[in-house]
Amino acid sequence: MPRGALSAAGVAAVLSIALTSCSSSSGPAPSTGGGASGKTLVVGVTSDPDTLFPWKATQFQAVNVLQNLYGTLTEFDKDLNVVPGLAESWQASDDGKKLTLKLRQGVTFADGSAFDSKDVKSSLDKIMDEKTAAVARASLSSVKSVEAPDAGTVVLELTGPDAALPANLATVNMAMLSSDDTEDKLNTTPNGTGPFKLKNRVASQSITLAKNDAYWGEKPKAPAVEFRVIPDESSIVSAMQSGNVQLAVFNDPLVAQTAQGGGTITVAKTPQLNYHVLQLNAQHGDLKDVNVRLAIQCAIDRKQVLDTAALGEGEVTGPITAPLFKSDPNKRPCPARDLAKAAEYLGKAGKSGGVTVKTIVSQGEYATSVNEAQNLKAQLAEAKINLDLEVLESGAFVDRWVAADFDAAVALNGGRPDPDGSYGRYFTSKGNLNKVAGYSSPELDKLFADGKATTEQAARKAIYDQVSAKLEENAPWIWLFSGYTYTATTAGVQGFVPMASGSLQFLRTTSVS
């Protein structure tokens, strides 16, 4: 009898039992909060910020962290209205060629130095300088120069009226930096005017922010917020079930359902500005003909795409998703699927025999891409439109997309609170993403210019309704649906307000007991 073997197996069993039982005695994660009251709020995230330099941050995770560290001249409230930030007020001159901003007094950076107009001028000048490669540069295209007549005032000289500018100033890519700071320094030591300061960072593991006691606005409720990197969304769910993580934002409806299933986690759905879209390249082959594009438009049942690819979690949408300017998806050439009409359009284009469209799809960038593409392919096949799918790893997809090397692309695009910010760069002939959008027209150029020049909200809404109509009639892209994000919280978390932009700016009002 191999008794030696048996005793070895026994040792293994004892060892694992011993290890497991240690854990149950060690209890829940100790709070590392520095303040006398409240606990550290732990937020589960799937990746580390790729940069701590706000002007280059485009990754969702980085934007979420930096937004809590840095201040901007204007901000969005929970409904995405533009509200004062570091600028207490702003006033456009009558001809619209000058925007005067009054700065908030007594604001300091995390290092204790004072914030004034000199920092605003230096920040805006550097963002406009191509050499800094700041991503928000295009949003300042109407700005000719920046003056700082006194410490509390900044004057922007504009080429013409720009009603979208206040909203454009509210993104973290427009963060106000101290004129003494450099990119190298800020990459390791953020120095902003936001509600939190950087406390500690462990590369690819966690990043901890501490409450900024000198913050000009309402002080954060939690003494500290820790973003803990747990790469897998399902692993975040288990971390929440065991109480180690208290808040997380999920994109995958399936993961959200699993999280809710346990009963200890509350999940709130928020409609998003992001939209799912089939981008057509109107500069390519058969798609140059508007009738072919309209045939595609009419051959798709958007609700079916939403139901099959995203478990029905979302809303069919038109071009503009921003709450204040929302397009009506029923005002499009084919609000419901109409195969007869699709055939008619194909006939008009002289393509009754059918067309083939080479379509790129990214894998891994977001959960529903491949399913959407397959459903679109199946639907369009019934209208003799053959989607030739090319599923690419996300890096390869981005390369092809950036080079506009596709007939069609299945994409998830980020929407913005202001329609000019969302589409001006795509659908105006001088927009810096026009090559990718593949479509522009003099009418659209004029409408976008009017939209910028008009400040009155109702008048702007009317203009962007026309933009929406033009886009749908010409079908450069086929807008499908916009989804939800899911904010999951454990019991004891209070005060968090999810936003349609996916922003975590309300971490400042969140507490955990």
Binding site: L19, I230, S238, V402, V436
Partner: protein, 317 residues
């Protein structure tokens, strides 16, 4: 002497081959560090902005220059710099390598604790229920993918017992040994289970073979107690193939660690490589892969040395 020289030459050759291969493969992956960082936003870059970024990342240099300057630096101990993590790759590796080595050692220990006893048990009576149990365990170990076992264990432990040490910040062995062992337990179990299977099979075969030898029969005839016979004579002689198999598995372990470290968020070297690939951080991936290759070579060397200790016949030849 000559043996050592040959060994060194082949090691250097292997490492150089790995260096060239990983360099070429990385560049064959579409997408650059710039698009990896900026995503679709990269379409909005002006030529001047793009140039500024290429210069920053050193992508404006010819490939040949990039390769040899990296390799040259590598030899002098400079593994490069991670722009994303704002840290030298050497620092990153010094933090992550011990974590993975610890995970690997624990997995091997668990694998041996599962594989060897079960293998001996299976060999003790062939075609019996015990043998079937061994077959079942090894089949499961070979066929259940690590990611599935990992997520299943995680959700079962988290949902049923509230046990999920990996949802907390990671503790190293020196900071908090107890928490560290808790955090390593599930990942090591997943990895260890995977390699327990080949160890189990090897043990079973080796034991069966050794037992059929004359010296075992002689020893038994001479009245050596059964337990001593099994442990000293049978297991002792069966150890050579088991050690070989274990050494081989160690290499696969480093590969398997990528998946397991990702799921359990263990900050080891596997995750470092994965993050590097996702972010197209060439310096990180190239240098880390070389470090892993070096570790693999060293383990093989160690296995060779171990042979000599446990098997006098190898020493003699």
């Amino acid at each position: 002497m000559r043996r050592t020289r040959n060994r060194v030459i082949s090691t250097v050759g292997t490492l150089f081959g790995v260096a060239v291969l990983v360099f070429v493969m990385l560049r064959a992956i579409p997408g650059s560090q710039i698009t990896a960082g900026l995503g679709t936003e990269a379409a909005a870059l002006t030529p001047a902005q793009r140039q500024a970024l290429e210069q920053y990342y050193g992508l404006d240099q010819p490939l040949f220059t990039q390769f040899f300057s990296w390799l040259g630096n590598m030899v002098t101990g400079n593994l490069g710099y991670s722009a994303r993590q704002q840290q030298s790759v050497l620092d990153l590796t010094l933090h992550s390598l011990p974590v993975t080595v610890e995970l690997a050692v624990l997995s091997i220990v668990l694998a041996l604790l599962i594989g060897v006893p079960l293998g001996m048990l299976a060999a003790s009576r062939t075609n019996s229920p015990r043998d079937a149990l061994g077959q079942l365990v090894s089949l499961a170990g070979l066929s259940v993918p690590a990611f599935l076992l990992a997520t299943t264990l995680l959700s079962v432990f988290a949902a049923s017992f509230g046990f999920n040490p990996n949802g907390q910040g990671f503790a190293t062995l020196f900071e908090d040994p107890l928490l560290n062992l808790e955090q390593m337990l599930l990942p090591a179990l997943v990895l260890g289970f995977g390699i327990a299977a080949p160890i189990l099979r090897t043990t079973r075969t080796a034991v069966l073979e050794v037992r059929s030898n004359d010296f075992v029969r002689t020893a038994r005839a001479k009245g050596v107690p059964e337990r001593r016979l099994q442990v000293k004579h049978v297991l002792g002689n069966a150890l050579v193939p088991i050690v070989t198999m274990t050494g081989l598995q160690f290499g696969y372990l480093l590969g398997g660690a990528v998946v397991v470290e990702q799921i359990f968020s263990v900050p080891g070297i596997g995750r470092q490589v994965l993050l590097g690939i996702q972010q197209k951080e060439y310096a990180v991936v190239q240098s880390t892969v070389l470090v892993i290759a070096l570790a693999f070579v060293l383990v093989n060397l160690l296995t060779d040395v171990l042979y000599r200790i446990i098997d006098p016949r190898v020493r003699a030849s």
